[in-house]
Symmetry: C2
DNA sequence: TGGTACATGTAACATGTTACATGATTAG
DNA sequence: CTAATCATGTAACATGTTACATGTACCA
């Protein structure tokens, strides 16, 4: 009964299994769509966690379907472990921003190279913002009302991207470049 | 000559070694102060990377000083590897926000529990914002002018925390709670 | 002289990443 | 019939985390 020690990735898989039995493949797709935005996971991890959780009795393998598809069902123990995990105070963010490392060591870089990097980042973040905004506008009102908290996660992504782009734009001209060229 | 494949953590240590020879202990302190904000590392990692880089000839151990202190010096190969790394396009952020997982599965949580979690997070982020702001106001103008890019990293932290708190405050009352009690 | 901060190092394990091998099914 | 997509699984390795063992020097 000592509830199995879940990591966040495994717990998320259990979360999705509340909706219906799914195989690794479905779970990966689902996770990437629904939480991939702020929680990355790979195919390898999914199969590893599924195997471990099946071993621990949190989920049960059903009969193989088409294409060797291996569906898993939540067990009572799995539900309990998930509830346990979900009620914990969420841990601290892990935020690792390679660009900031580059900037921290910016004095070892020629100004124009740093400026080029910043320009490139601006493009990438603008694109991401645009894609988030599109996704946001595509959310059906019914889903929004049924899952307000889940929908709100996208809002934070948008707020982050806007803050990031705004920060880039406010950077002193001395590091953003454009000065030197003129 | 095939330049050693550096990870960002190891590269950062090389970055700090440009300033002066340092031992693991100093490097850990320095890194936590200067990049800890957006790049976490542990004592274990520092010693591991130092050992690997010494092995690869990127740094050289000097004579032990007081308290078994083991200083390392950059080699030419180390400088080259660092320059190589620094010029790369910085990779994508790793952002993992456990709170958003909790929210994504918020429908499995009693509303008051979710509201309590959000409240708690608000406190933590406010404190962090305050500490960042204090650090920002304590930066000597001379340092700011000499290292504008390094200083700007703190600005992004502040922008992020403000965006986060603002997002929390804009969350619909239905999930923030305060409704039910009234 | 005893506690605390300094300092290094290792062991064990958890998590994340990349690459590959294998086979099933479908669409053209 | 064959290329593409679906689907699972494993191996090898990189990185990150936690805990512990050891010893040094300072300072109250």
């Amino acid at each position: 009964m000592t509830t199995f020690k879940l990591n966040s990735t495994a717990a998320s898989l259990l979360g999705f299994l509340h909706e219906r039995p799914m195989a690794g493949w479905d779970l990966l797709e689902t996770a990437q769509q629904r939480i991939g935005n702020f929680w990355s996971l790979t195919q390898s991890q999914v199969y590893r966690e599924l195997a471990a959780m099946a071993e621990a009795g949190l989920i049960e393998a059903g009969e193989r379907g088409r294409r060797e598809r291996q569906p898993y069902t939540l067990t009572e123990a799995g539900r309990a472990a998930f509830q346990d995990w979900l009620r914990q105070e969420p841990g601290p963010e892990t935020i690792r921003i390679p660009l900031l490392l580059t900037m921290a060591f910016g004095s070892h870089l020629p100004p124009d190279r740093l400026a080029a990097i910043l320009e490139h980042q601006r493009t990438r973040h603008s694109e991401r913002l645009r894609s988030y905004e599109q996704r946001q506008s595509a959310i059906p009102p019914a889903y929004r009302e049924a899952n307000p908290a889940a929908v709100a996660t996208l809002d934070l992504g948008i707020a982050y991207e806007r803050a990031f782009i705004n920060w880039l734009d406010q950077l002193p001209a001395s590091i953003r470049g454009g000065d030197a060229a003129a």
